[in-house]
Amino acid sequence: METILEINNIEVVYNKAVQVLRGLSLTVPKGTIVALLGSNGAGKSTTLKAVSGLLDIEDGEVADGKITFKGRDVALDSPDKLVRRGLFHVMEGRHVFEDLTVEENLTAATYAKKGGAGARASFALVYEYFPRLKDRRKGLAGYLSGGEQQMLAVGRSLVAAPDLIMLDEPSLGLAPLLVEEIFEIIVRINREQGTSMLLVEQNAALALAVSSYGYIMENGKVVIDGTSDELMKNEDVQEFYLGASGDDGENRSYREIKHYKRRKRWLS
């Protein structure tokens, strides 16, 4: 299958001192949803920033390895150019422009298109997926609810009609019902628009349910990967990411967990 994004053995260093990624590799095949899971501080968001070029703003640097998007090294292009090549990064925490209206937020996203002329038409597409945004299109984005802001963040990516959307924790801080609604739309976008997605999540169960392949990372590298079905059946994943307890239903003792941790480190 054709790959759209390939991350090959990258290392990322912040402030020339703090190493966050240590040899991370992953692949996103075209037209699929790939999940990138892991606990806080594992380096998931950093991975996305390394791809989209937003690391520079935070004094981070890809020290080693290579990232190719549609067959071209991302280091060759500036972040805004990458967006116009079809790589859209929906950042963690939504990042809507709070003192702009909903519609102006979408207008801002037209910069992600080449030319930007046909942008009007695709606002309709955004409103089709997120009818709620249409009702509030003249209102300031800052006054939207958290869920609506997340919808707007995803909606902005639709305006750009990208080939790959990287979603950073779309479920962050949202009520379960809203999370489900947003994930349904994400799947629909993937199916109907053929957009490939790289999905970073803490909510592993949900992410694995919608993705076809998953990577689990810890301490800056991938520790387990496999198809989503395989991962969901994997005992370690079940226990540590899907929240299942031991086979007999009892809570495992602290000693066993420590033992497991030692084993896991050694394996990776």
């Binding site: 989209s52 070029g53 937003l54 703003i57 004094d59 500036s78 972040p79 805004d80 967006v83 116009r84 859209f88 990064h89 929906v90 950042m91 990042h95 809507v96 422009f97 709070e98 003192d99 702009l100 102006e104 937020n105 207008t107 801002a108 996203a109 037209t110 910069y111 992600a112 298109k113 930007g116 300031l140 800052g142 006054y143 609810s145 902005r156 750009a160």
Partner: protein
């Protein structure tokens, strides 16, 4: 009370205020996009006025050619400043960047002295000279026409930033830089445009001020009173620049006319203190949006 005098002074005050608004607008555009407080804006005004003097006075070109050229020159000066001096300072502490703009203002004063000489100069007359009467009110033509030109550019700017795609890009960058980047907006380009357009507004104001008040390498120091205007209106608000400029211009002239020139500073700074106590972000400055 002499109402005729009151209205005449009011109009003169508002006209001065319109020019303040224009400089304040230039200041605010730059601050909004780049978060740089540009202390060199007065010197950009001064240099642009000298450019106009060169084009219209020395080369004797028609003012309708010289004025746009002087504005373009001022805009380019801003754009080059951003590229060569401000961009390398990105991410440094705001104090360092402010110091750089203060340093730049001294350099520009020095450059003006070397090129055009230290003495005061007078710009060639380019505004119609016939006095204007509105009913019985007399308005000095220079002041009236400069105000009209200033208001013309102000309106263009406000409409552009409110409704155009470029205006959205500027406001998006001001609101969230990283997000603007991720949206395909070229933030360095926005910075550069902001400096260009901001300096161009200042350039027009510089020519207009020099047209009625004369010109010397030290003329730029008047921009310090603009700082009052922008703090008054809110550092990052275009509307604030407009309202603040008109208000401060009006108040200054009225104080001068009714209480005497020595009370100008007193009134303005007293008012500024009150405004800042009541609204720390200025009259129209952004507070963070709080969701309920």
């Amino acid at each position: 009370m002499d109402w005729l005098f009151f209205f005449e002074s009011s109009i003169a005050g508002l006209a001065t205020g319109a020019i303040y608004s224009l400089v304040a607008l230039g200041f605010v555009i730059i601050y909004k996009a780049t978060r740089v407080i540009n202390f060199a804006i007065g010197e950009i005004m001064m240099i642009s006025a000298y450019l106009f003097l060169t084009f219209a006075g020395i080369l004797e070109w028609h003012p309708l050619i010289a004025l746009p050229l002087a504005m373009l020159g001022g805009g380019l000066l801003g754009s080059v400043t951003e590229k060569l001096i401000i961009r390398p300072m990105l991410g440094e502490s705001p104090i360092s960047v402010v110091m750089v703009t203060i340093g730049l203002s001294s350099i520009l004063v020095g450059a003006a002295q070397i090129i055009w000489g230290p003495g005061p100069r007078i710009l060639p007359d380019f505004l119609p000279r016939a006095p204007i009467f509105i009913g019985e009110l007399y308005v000095s033509s220079k002041i009236a026409y400069s105000a009209l030109i200033a208001i013309g550019l102000l309106v263009c700017y406000l409409i552009y930033f409110r409704f155009s795609r470029g205006g959205v890009a500027l406001r998006a960058t001001a609101s969230d830089q990283a997000a603007a980047f991720s949206m395909g907006i070229s933030v360095p380009k926005v910075f550069n445009y902001a400096w260009f357009f901001g300096s161009m507004a200042a350039a027009l104001a510089g020519v207009l001020v020099a047209a009625s008040g004369g010109l010397s390498p030290y003329s730029g120091s008047m921009a310090l009173s603009i700082l009052v205007v922008v703090i008054f209106g809110g550092l990052d608000s275009l509307t604030g620049a407009l309202v603040g400029g008109l208000l401060v211009g009006w108040l200054e002239t009225m104080t001068g006319a009714f209480l005497g020139g020595e009370y100008k500073m007193l009134t303005i700074f007293t008012l500024l203190t009150f405004v800042l106590v009541l609204k720390p972000y200025g009259l129209f400055g952004t507070k963070e949006i709080e969701r309920l």
